[in-house]
Amino acid sequence: MLGLNKKDTSLFLIVVGMTMFAPFILNPFPETSQLAQFNAGYPDLMQRFVIFGIFAIGFNLLFGLTGYLSFGHAAFLGVGSYAGVWMMKLLTMDVIPAIFMSMVVAGLFSILVGYVSLRRSGIYFSILTLAFAQMSFSLAYSVLTPITNGETGLQLALDDPRILGVSQVDGSIPPASIFGIAMRDSWDLTLGGWSFTFNAGYYLCAVIMILAFYVSVRIFRSPFGLMLKAVKSNQQRMNYTGLNSKPYTFAAFVISGMYAGLAGGLMVAMDPLAGAERMQWTASGEVVLMTILGGAGTLFGPVLGAGFIKYFENIFSKINDNILYQWFSGLPESVADALVFVIHPFIGKGWHLTLGIVFMLVVIFLPGGIMEGLRRISAFVKKRFSSSPSSNGAVPSAKAAE
């Protein structure tokens, strides 16, 4: 279907299903239950899941396929964001020009950075990309303040021109929208104790992520994608096989930069503010972590990794002692106190600690990331429940890695 083989088609359908039904999947607990704290089905976080999913998919096209570890990809996301906000300030609150411009500007910037950085490989490449991103961040934070609004971040104002739209409606900035549907419009569905929110902005992001995912599958399976894998596998052999690895990596770099720009454009379409911190090295590091955590080089792993980290950041950081006491309200006070005492360092302000521990555990025990974990589980289940003994376990299959 759609030019994909059977296995990819089913993966694609799973992804479509997951994104379309995300409001249900992410809100498994009734509103009133204590576990509702773990629900993630609210618009902002759902949008973040798919936007960072796009960012990670794009990063994976570079890192997962070619093995070139860019430590400065957040710069493209940041530059894309600025371009998007400027479009909304100058042109219109319709998000299409903003998103389009984000991709274009990020693409152009990645042509510049890629052209220079790809002259080196290995850690030298990583440091070059890091250097570009840190320079972008530092300058955006300080001397470029007229363009970027520095520390605060570039935001909309009531007196923006918006030549194809309106500057303000009744003293308010008009909402970002697409064909008149505001990104922040939501519809609620209440079923018993459950409440599900369907947000216009989320569905726009979700559709774009599905497209982005589809494009990435096509690239993975194309001759171009095969060449990128060859870059990672053995660049020397590649050159002696009559292939010029430079334009391949360069093209992958620019495509992946445009994915980052797309993610940046969507971020400002959902929430029209572009802060300089999204270009800092920690932000670049975050997408590296997402990709590796999910499973670099796999089709869907990076999306899972992105979801995992964003879930931690947004859900764990909001758990406080008060909530813990509510959970343990059924227990004797001394037991509850003891439990809260033990858990306290890992929640709320301790979410970084928990995240650090999880990173270490995943890397130590699951070298292939979350996808490896899933594969092991499914292998275990198959082994456990299949009637015929496994026959092909010993032969490492190339397809297994995807």
Partner: protein, 251 residues
């Protein structure tokens, strides 16, 4: 007809002269062996053919085309393929992918942005790749990771990767190094079969058994200079060669 011409090639590393006024002429269709003791400059010479090294002076021309200063991938596109001393393959890709890549390279050129349609849509490429795997007897393992092959199989795979490109000239750097006698014989057979395709080959070898089973011309390299050249049986008896191998070389 002369396919590769080497004239007055010199190459030094620091103070060490690795190649000294090397002249060589390879006839089309020949299997030309370059032999010589360790450190004679055989691999250095080969590296000068494929663009890995640039000679200090001298010229290398392939079918009338200058090869000096040309990038490795361009040399390959011109029709020169190389098999390395330790197999250079795409270890973490499947065997089939390992052959598809060179097939695509000779079909689509050194760069082509086919990022949309899957490899599966390219029937002619797949057929060609699979048929070469048939030839070398790796067809059943085509979905296996290349890294899991035995050393001998890896070398055969690498050879297949070169042959599938229908090169005009193949450079073989010690194709049987480190192989058992049986594997060596298999490889010789394979190379002989390929010989039937009429591809010109340059073989660097230590193993005289291999040289004499395959080559129809031999050049002897010692201390960076060609000291003898001729038919295998002539070379066998040449005193200079004996001297280079047994006495003169700095062992």
């Amino acid at each position: 007809m002369e396919i590769l011409k080497v004239e007055g090639v010199n190459k030094s590393f620091g103070g060490l002269k690795a190649l000294n006024e090397v002249n060589l002429s390879i006839e089309e269709g020949n299997v030309h062996a370059i032999i010589g003791p360790n450190g004679a400059g055989k691999s250095t010479l080969l590296n000068c053919f494929v663009g890995k090294l640039t000679p200090d002076t001298g010229s290398v021309t392939f079918m009338g085309k200058n090869l000096i200063g040309i990038k490795p991938h361009e040399i390959n596109q011109a029709g020169v393929s190389r098999v390395f001393q330790t197999p250079e393959i795409f270890s973490d890709l499947s065997i089939l992918d390992n052959v598809i890549i060179p097939t695509l390279a000779s079909n689509d050129g050194s760069f082509s942005f086919n990022a949309w349609n899957g490899v599966q849509k390219r029937g002619e490429i797949l057929d060609k790749a699979e048929s070469i795997l048939e030839d070398i007897g790796l067809a059943e393992k085509k979905d296996v990771l290349a890294a899991s092959l035995s050393r001998g199989d890896k070398r055969r795979l690498e050879l297949a990767m070169c042959l599938v490109q229908d090169p005009k000239l193949v450079l073989l750097d010690e194709p049987t190094a480190g192989m058992s006698r049986a594997d060596t014989n298999n490889t010789i057979d394979l190379l002989k079969r390929i010989g039937e395709r009429g591809i010109t080959k340059i073989v660097i070898e230590h193993d005289m058994h291999v040289v004499f089973s395959l080559a129809n011309k031999v050049s002897v390299l010692a201390q960076g200079t060609v000291i003898a050249e001729g038919k295998p049986e002539d070379i066998k008896g040449d005193p200079r060669v004996q001297e280079a191998y047994l006495g003169g070389a700095h062992i």
